[in-house]
Structures are given as C-alpha cells and as structure tokens.
C-alpha cells in the first residue's frame, strides 16, 4: 500500500480570493476602472470625446467585472475542491466565455436600439477585440492570483516547518533511555560511558543548532551513525543497521535532520518491538539528476506501538521536502505486512565546498 497522496500538512487554505467579499469587490471595481481608463487612453485623444468614450468602455468593463465576480463567487466551492491548477484553468475559460457572451449581448442590444455610434466597429472585430483584451487581462489577473497564493502558501509552510522542526527533536523516550544506559555504564564500563556521553552530546548539538536548513549527505549519515552507536549500547545484538550507500554522492545536499529521524522511527516502531531484533537497511541510488534513499525495517506483526501512531517525524520531513523541492521531491511510505519502507526522492544539488 503506497501512501503517496496522503497529505499530512495541507491545511484547507483558499488560493482564490473570496469574490463574495465587499473588499474584494471594491478592488475588482477599482482595477476594472483602471483597465477602462488604459483602454480609452490608448484609443482616443484627451478631450470632450474622451469622457464619453471612457464612460462607454467603463460601462462594459464594469459589467464584465461584476458579472465575473458573481460567477466566481457562485463557483467558489467547486473551484476550491477542483485543486489549484484546474481551478485556474476553469476560471480562465469561464470568464473568457462570459466576456464573449457579454460582448455579443451588448452588440445585439446596441443594434436593437439602433444607435450605431455607441460601438463604432464591425460585429466580428468587436468580438475579436473584446476576446483579445479580456484574455490578456484575465490571464494577467490569474497569474497574479496564482503567484500571490503560492507566496502565501510558502510562508505558511515555512512557519509550520519551523514549529514542527522544534517538535521533532529527539524523542524523550530515547533521551531518558540513553541516560539510564549511561548511568549503568558509569559503574560497569566507564570508558564506554564516556564515549556514550560524547556521542549523545554530538547528537544533541546537531539537533539543537540547526539554523541552516540543508546539510550534506555525509553529515546526515554521520549524525545517524552516532545515533546508531547510542542505540546499539541499549539494544545490543538486536540492532543491526546496514549502510548500503557507497554509490551515493556524499556531497549532495539534503534537508538536514532527515536520515536520523527516519532511523529513529525504524528502531522505535520496528526493531525495538521484535524479540530477536532485525536489520535496518539504508540504501540509495542516483541518476545524476535525482537521488533516492530507501530505509527499510522489519515490523512485528499485529503489534502497534500504543494506539497513537507517532508519525510526527515523517510529517515533518514531508513538509520540509515540500518546502525545499515542491513537486520535485517526495517522501513515500510503503507499509507492507512485515516491512516498512520509506523512500526519499529529491533533486541532486551539490553542496558548495
């Protein structure tokens, strides 16, 4: 079972503005009026005729803007459900259609009332001009909304990932167990206790001081190895980790604190619950453009750790991958009967030396 689409952080956030709100309407009217002025300025000299032309153009543009807003307001729920890209495409075509319909209706009305001076154009050129102008303006507006919603989203994501980076620090469970191990070693094996204290300090330093958000694969694997040494003291023979990573470029960049939390998960949810322990396999491959890292651990059958699955670390890594790579990176989980496998995929970037 692959849980690729499982979205852990996507808060329901609007990417289109609320077209039903008075504030948005005000801005839309304002923008529409500006567009009308630009159009009139481009086509006519300033003078007595200018205001007449402006009012005609404004009349048309405002109608279009208000009708467009009304339609968007009605479609709002459907669009939010449709997903971002589709919503933008749909809105574009709906608004485009609306502008053509409105142009046609105006043309027919003008002809019906017989005053040909209002629109000094042939039928087809009028429709064509309306179509061209509205396409450009609507496309620009859509692009603007898209960019600003992406921008808002990345701010939210960044804030979230900062907070959860704090939460995803080393599990207390691990910390206290390690302390207990050290307390015991202090008497029975002082040199080993010393080493354990040094390792634990290195690990805590790495997790506490991480203002930079990327590190190299080499550093990531080093931190994970320190973590492994500490857990090995506690679990002894039961813990075996195979690092099959010789092929990976050690200078490649990766969001920091990615590997160690995954190893921690593998041990906490996997190895620790198996009476005879097992092997965590870390492997990877790269094709020059993308890197893939896999971490696989056996799991005890029918046994869960408590009832609340702790997936905070995984959610946190997902979030930071999303922030760092967008659609170019992914964190997939393959949870089969007796194995748990995490696959990280991200673009290859070399660290500056």
């Amino acid at each position: 079972m692959t849980a690729t689409s499982e979205s852990t952080h996507e808060a329901p956030q609007a990417f289109l503005p609320d077209f039903c709100a008075a504030r948005t309407l005000f801005v839309i009217v304002l923008v529409a009026e500006l567009v009308a002025i630009v159009l009139t300025l481009a086509a006519h000299e300033a003078g007595a005729q200018f205001l007449v032309e402006l009012s005609k153009t404004s009349f048309f543009v405002l109608w279009l803007a208000l009708l467009g807003s009304a339609v968007m307001c009605l479609l709002r729920n459907t669009l939010e459900r449709a997903g971002k890209t589709r919503a933008f495409v749909i809105s574009f075509f709906v608004l485009e259609l609306l502008s053509l319909v409105l142009a046609e209706v105006s043309w027919q009305l003008v002809r019906f009332f017989g005053s040909s001076t209002i629109i000094d154009d042939t039928h087809s050129t009028f429709l064509l001009r309306t179509f061209a102008i509205s396409s450009i303006v609507i496309a620009l507006a859509m692009r603007y909304l898209y960019v600003s919603s992406e921008w808002r989203r990345s701010i939210v994501l960044e804030a979230q990932s900062r907070i959860s980076a704090l939460q995803a620090l080393i599990r207390p469970h691990f910390l206290f167990n390690s302390m207990n191990t050290i307390a015991s070693l202090t008497r029975s094996n002082p040199p080993q206790a010393e080493e354990a204290v040094e390792d634990l300090s290195d690990l805590l330093r790495a997790t506490m001081s991480s203002p930079k958000d990327r590190s190299s694969l080499k550093q990531e694997f080093e931190i994970a190895a320190i973590y492994q040494r500490i857990e090995k003291l506690r679990l002894g023979e039961r813990l075996d980790v195979r690092w099959d990573i010789g092929e990976l470029p050690m200078r490649a960049r990766i969001p920091n604190l990615t590997i160690q939390p995954l190893l921690e998960n593998a041990i906490y949810h996997g190895i620790e619950l198996l009476p005879d322990g097992g092997q965590v396999l870390v492997s990877g491959k790269h094709d020059g453009k993308y890197l893939e890292i896999y971490m696989t651990n056996p799991v005890a059958q029918g046994k869960k750790r408590g009832k609340t699955g702790n997936n905070m670390a995984l959610a946190n890594i997902r979030q930071r991958f999303q922030l760092a790579y967008g659609n170019r990176g992914s964190v997939d989980v393959d949870n089969s009967d007796n194995h748990y496998k995490v696959t990280l995929r991200f673009p290859m970037e070399e660290a500056a030396t």
């Binding site: 599990r171 207390p172 469970h173 206290f176 207990n180 191990t181 050290i182 003291l233 039961r238």
Partner: protein, 248 residues
C-alpha cells in the same frame, strides 16, 4: 525480599542490579529479557517483587503482569519506564508502583517498599487509561506447576465445567484460571456466548446447523475434538450468535 528483574535492555537490567546490590533487604533472584522468560523464572524462583519494563517486544509489561497473577505465589509488581506520560498518569491514578528511568536509588527503594500485588482489573484499567493494549494476547494455563501461554487467536472456545474453564485450542485443551465472565468481558469482540457455559471464537465458526430435534448447533472450523453436545446454542442466545456471525 526476592526480586526478579525484567527488561529487554541489558544496560537497564544492569542499572537495577547495581542499585539492588547496595541494598541489604533485597536479593536479585533472576533476570529476564522478555515476558516469557519472566513467567518461567517467576514460577521457579517465586520472587516477592517483579521489576517490570512496560515496553518490551513480544509480551509487554502489562500483559506479563496479568499472567504473573496466575502464579501460585503471586508477586508484587513495580513497573519501570523511560517516558510515558499516559502510563505515568494511569499509575498515579490507580496507585500502581512505578519507577522512571534513569532509575533513582531513593525512588526505587520507595517503590519497592510500597510494592503491592495488582489485580487484573486494575491492570486493564491502567492499560486503557495509558492508551496501551488492554486485551491480553495470550491466556495462561498452569500445567504441572509451570505456566503455559496459549495465543488467543488459536483458541476455538472456552468451556466451563463446574469448577474450571477449559480452553480448546489448536494444540489440544488446557484449564485456564480465568472465569468465563471475565473472559467474556475482556474479549467482547472475539468471543460470543452460545450458552451459559460456553464462549466461542466468532472467527472459528463455520456455520450454524439445525439438529434433528430442532435445536441450533455451532459447527467449528477444523476442530473435531469438541463434543457436539457442548456446541448447542441455547434458545436465548441464538439471535445474538447469528447476528455476530453475520457481522464477521
């Protein structure tokens, strides 16, 4: 006082041993790395107190404690845990003895001095409060002085005689110490009562058939050694049994 140490991690056992060595009143009679060994050693050495880690692979601490109750010489239990907000709250609430790791000398001495036997119901409540597995995954049978653990999912049915409850399972049958009522309460999803003195595992029921004299009888999957007479469904349980069978 005789103490048995149970923890899957060697350094954790060592730590407890170190502290207890310095105490005059306590003698460590054994150490076990898992729940199964703990039960064997407890039957053999009859400790007064068992120091029991909660998080262990296989039989966890809570289930081990429940099985310790089946022993003739029931020991008192003190749990050890590194970090378990919920468990600690639950222990506090029900006055169950525990120590936190890293283990403090004074705290351990205090917990040992106050250690008491724990009733099965208390343990189940604690497990529920602590968000842990409340159902045992084995029942315990005492066979010739030693304990035998029978996995719940290998049991076809529990049948009560006047005095004993018999578990019919994959590898034969054994007498267990639990009462039929407590088993029914503990495993409501797994077993269904077919008459006053029989609980049947729902997933082991093949079908329900009519006997020649018009009664309903349970047909079990691949079990020949349960007497047909014991599988007659009493009239007041028929509807319930049918409903459960349909649901599963």
């Amino acid at each position: 006082m005789k103490v048995l140490i149970v923890d899957d991690e060697e350094p954790a056992r060592e730590r407890l041993r170190q502290i207890l060595q310095d105490e005059d009143d306590y003698e460590v009679v054994g150490e076990a790395g898992n729940g199964h060994d703990a039960l064997l050693l407890a039957a053999k050495h009859e400790p007064d107190i068992v120091l029991l880690d909660i998080r262990m692979p296989g039989l966890d601490g809570i289930e081990t404690a429940q099985h310790l109750n089946e022993l003739e010489h029931t020991p008192a239990v003190v749990f050890t845990t590194a970090y378990d907000e919920y468990a600690v709250d639950a222990f506090e609430a029900r006055a169950v003895g525990y120590v936190l790791k890293p283990v403090r000398r004074a705290r351990l001495a205090a917990a040992l001095a106050q250690a008491s036997r724990l009733a099965g119901t208390t343990l189940r409540q604690v497990a529920a409060d602590a968000n842990l597995e409340t159902q045992r995954r084995h029942v315990c049978a005492s066979v010739g002085g030693s304990l035998k653990l029978i996995p719940i999912d290998e049991i076809w049915c529990f049948l009560a005689d006047q005095k004993y409850v018999r578990a019919e399972h994959k590898n034969g049958h054994d007498l267990v110490d639990d009462s039929l009522k407590s088993l029914a309460d503990e495993f409501p999803d797994r077993f269904v009562r077919i008459h006053r003195s029989a609980l049947i595992a729902v997933d082991k029921i093949e079908s329900i058939e009519k006997t020649t004299d018009g009664k309903s009888r349970v047909v079990l999957r691949d079990s020949s050694h349960v007497d047909d007479k014991e599988l007659i469904i009493s009239r007041r349980h028929v509807a319930e049994v049918r409903r459960r069978l349909k649901e599963s």
